[in-house]
Symmetry: C2
Subunit: 587 residues, 2 copies
């Protein structure tokens, strides 16, 4: 396997053997280590010294179920700290299959306004990957739904595509990195933290992979790997949340809308309430029923990426049965729905489509529009107004630039004090005042406000891995710490985080995950190593952030959550600072 | 004397005796101490827990020359740290005369969009100041040049006015606090750091003072005070820079344009060069000659505030001899001129007028427009384009909001990497790569990029207090530290910083300054105490900043200054991080 470096200053590339220190790393563990080792913490995120690192997970590209994740790392233009954001896509498998342990995009062209593509394929005669660069300026300034088919037409149907939309070209703090889904749509995103603008700042529009003829991922101990793989599949097929026709497969992640609303933890109208009167109209159940009605048949969800057996990705259709967008998952549904006071699934799906088309993160977009509504730019509940604001982002108007900058910066520019963000990054779909553990994760995560960094919702709301009272701060620092560490490991395996439901509740599932990794790498990890290895990754990320100027004072929820009680529980965020500091202090 | 608190939540006020710990403080020493003691470092700067503190200097309101400074303190909406910004105005004298040691504005009204005024006068029967509140909504959304006469008409000609313009109403990071000058113009500003938006966030449009019947400042040892005052006056009248018809009185502060241009340290076109081909056309000499030509006579400058004997404030007139703006001082002239590639004094003066009219800081405005020009919003050198951008700020359009947010935030929103700011605040008119000591001050000051925080230009360029090579980093950390400490003391006395030229070169001037303070306070300070007392103030400010999350990583110039050599010297900013850290590390 190789580390492959693309230098955008002169559009050259190199292949290097994988250094010993990176041999047993993958996914987030590897992307974060390379960023920590190579990116100057105080560099400008959009300057020549930042790097975008793409690393497939340890088992990505193997037959392990639900493991086609690609981790993208860089210094975040939004948080100013380290960032890892992962997505599921065939692109992840293809990169692994090309024996690329990590792809590192460096440098910056002198020319302004020009964009390039990199086409990576397998050079059979040389027995290694090769890269050709192409002028991609013709694909800029356009809807990704229009551009993706052109790229497929140019390079063939078996390729995979990563890149950025106009949001990245505009260098927005809210610019994701797009990947193709199984239907070749530009719909899978490493959405958070503005990574798309790191690509945009380097003039790199697309990275096209063609793994034809490539050798695929090497597995050191095939028998052990298969043993692990089966345990994992069994766990996923058994657990109520992840099994076929289970919660996720039937209702998608938006099954959480009613659950969180019931718990009083569904942030509504820019985090001014924990309960939304329109929740039922946008819930997963409503999506399921709506699709059934419009298609005339019961439809279960599909996989977002090859080899996923959870299959939680959905599609929303209009009244004529024509696709509006895929997928309307919980976070997008909430961000563009409840958080903006909008209870119309057609409008929400339209906004998801627009975010995908322009290259925007749906969470950041909804959180930012919520702040804009707070500022009075458009009223809460104004679906057409919200749609128009996304179009402004896509056009790069001044208002579009304000909102495209992301939640924290937009709040500052608009002079709003109720800005639900940590380290500048907008909060996802769980209210810290109603679910204290997730608030600790938002506050302390190395990533800024991020539910996936330590999903304590599992025990606090879903009864997975035990059951804990969401309203109490007691014991939640340790809970968040444990989840953050385990997550850093899972994000390194290449598995989707949703396997966590099964592996946390079913011990053989956890064993399976570790055995898969041992099978691929030849390591002898035990399940005890999951938290230890994860903690090491967190420490590395944390050290980068400290060198970038992020201190414990940045590990706080915004002031309004400490002084404004949230209906319906009328609680403030009452986790003591010392508890927040203990999350990493006692790592 | 009293501490007077205005609570804007319910528009009430209280008078408190001055606590022992504040007894010997004034100006910046007092405003910073109150902010450090009372404002939660992590509060939202525009929320109810921030406070705006107005403190006249120790000798302000006495006959001490050039001492009518008012320090305004708060948590800065721009830097996120502590802020002190001082201005010269009769308002400062009147506050001192009313025996108000510090005026503290607290709280926040529930209503949105309403603005109030506070009218403070002397209640002779009670023997103390009293405050009445009035509805000031009618004065909002308007040009301050139109509004000030209305306030004078309402309350009488002897009042003084402090307040905010539309920039503060919009809660911009670039919103100054305005004070009247001697001609009742809204032209004297505590400009830096967005303090006007702290007033705006509290719904406080104006604070009107009427000191009629007030007892004036108490002087403990009149003889000692008079002795000091005379020494100070002698020094000011002797030194080439400060004497009548000397450098400042003749050419104004813009005398520096040619000097800095010659030194290659005049930031040009958003800090992309240190030399401006149009410098001579906007220099102080050109202002002097231009005014002479348009008025048909030689005219020397006037005082900005009562009792100033330096008198460096000028006025620019149009071809018909009609006033355009007062005053076109060096920083404004540079910011709106060289930094934007504009060499037209009529346009620059027009922009100064507009900044005063809207309540904007001229330095921040010019630095931000420079960044906007870098982003291609309007071309460098486009005077009408720059004027239009200031109007956008005044109108609160989306582009106006972006620019009104200040240099750092605007750079982020516009996706620019060459952003000349420290802690978000735009750099003033000296290039760190050409004058290393001032770069250290910019980087490390508790205030964000601020030349007045430690004006090493004195020895590095002007030969005041010795002569040092501007290009060498050697010894400059200590130099900056010394200047920062001495400045914190001077900012506490109530004297204008420009007395420093005289007191640094003339030992009896320094003695005079200390004797004036001892005379007022009854203290027994020596000139050795100047640096010690100043250092204590800096430590207090620094502790606030650390608690607000500003670390040594924030004590850095932006990356581009370390990697882009600056013409004509083709130097980068080569001061080692360890030297920067030593400024406060060895305080």
């Amino acid at each position: 396997m190789w580390l492959v470096r693309i230098n955008m200053t002169d559009r050259s590339y190199t292949l290097e053997p994988v250094p010993e220190k990176y041999k047993y790393l993958g996914g987030r563990g590897l992307s974060s280590s390379i960023v920590a080792d190579e990116v100057p913490p105080l560099c400008h995120p959009l300057g020549p010294n930042n790097k975008a690192v793409f690393a497939p997970g340890i088992v990505t590209g193997t037959p392990a179920a639900t493991s086609a994740r690609i981790s993208v790392g860089a210094k975040s233009p939004l948080t100013g700290g380290i960032k890892e954001s992962n997505a599921g896509s065939s692109w992840a498998n293809d990169l692994a299959s090309l024996r690329i342990k990590a792809l590192i995009v460096e440098g910056q062209p002198k020319e302004k306004g020009k964009f390039w593509g990199a086409y990576i394929s397998w050079d059979a005669s040389a027995g290694k990957p090769k890269i050709e660069f192409f002028d991609a300026t013709e694909y800029t300034g356009k809807n990704l739904y229009d551009v993706f088919p052109q790229v497929y037409a140019r390079f063939g149907e078996r390729i995979s595509i990563a890149g950025c939309g106009v949001a990245g070209e505009f260098r927005y703090g809210n610019a994701g990195i797009v990947f193709n889904d199984l239907a070749k749509r530009p719909s899978r995103y490493s959405g958070r933290g503005g990574l798309g603008s790191v690509l945009g700042s380097k003039g790199l529009k697309f990275i096209v992979l063609n793994d034809q003829g490539s050798p695929g991922v090497e597995i050191v101990d095939k028998a052990l790997f298969d043993q692990g793989r089966k345990k994992m599949i069994d766990a996923l097929r058994t657990h109520d949340i992840t099994k076929p026709k289970g919660g996720l497969n039937t209702y998608g992640t938006a099954v959480l809308i009613n659950i969180l609303n019931e718990a009083g933890g569904l942030p509504t109208r820019n985090f001014s309430s924990g309960r939304f009167e329109g929740a039922a109209k946008i819930a997963g159940e409503a999506i399921f029923e709506g699709v059934k009605q419009r298609l005339g048949k019961e439809t279960y969800n599909h996989a977002c990426s090859p080899g996923c057996i959870i299959q939680c990705s959905n599609t929303w259709y209009d009244e004529n049965g024509k696709e509006v967008a895929s997928c309307v998952e919980y976070e997008s549904d909430w961000a563009l729905g409840a958080n903006c006071g909008i209870d119309n699934l057609d409008a929400i799906a339209q906004m998801v489509y627009l975010c995908n088309a322009y290259g925007l993160d749906t969470i950041e977009t909804g959180a930012t529009i919520g702040v804009a509504m707070e500022a009075g730019v458009v009223p809460f509940g104004d679906a057409q107004g919200a749609i128009n604001l996304i179009h402004e982002m896509g056009k790069g108007t001044p208002m579009g630039r304000i909102l495209g900058a992301g939640t924290g910066p937009a709040g500052q520019v608009l002079g709003v004090t109720r800005v639900p963000a940590v380290k500048g990054q907008g909060m996802p779909a769980y209210e810290p005042r109603a679910v204290k553990g997730i608030g600790i994760t938002y506050a302390t995560s190395t990533m800024g406000a991020d539910h996936t960094a330590g999903y304590t919702i599992a025990p606090e709301i879903l009864g997975v891995s035990g059951k804990q009272d969401p309203l109490t701060p007691e014991g939640k620092a340790g809970l968040s710490r444990g989840f953050q560490a385990a997550t850093a490991f899972i994000d390194s395996t290449g598995h989707c985080l949703f396997i966590a439901f099964a592996v946390l509740d079913i011990p053989s599932g956890m064993e399976g995950m570790v055995e898969e990794c041992n099978g691929v790498l030849g390591t002898k990890w035990t399940t005890d190593d999951v938290g230890k290895i994860g903690a090491e990754i967190l420490k590395r990320e944390r050290a980068f952030n400290e060198a970038a100027g992020l201190t414990k004072q940045h590990d706080r929820v915004p002031e309004f959550m400490k002084i404004e009680p949230l209906p319906p529980h009328n609680q403030v965020f009452d986790v003591p600072d010392a508890a927040l500091d203990s999350v990493y202090g006692e790592l």
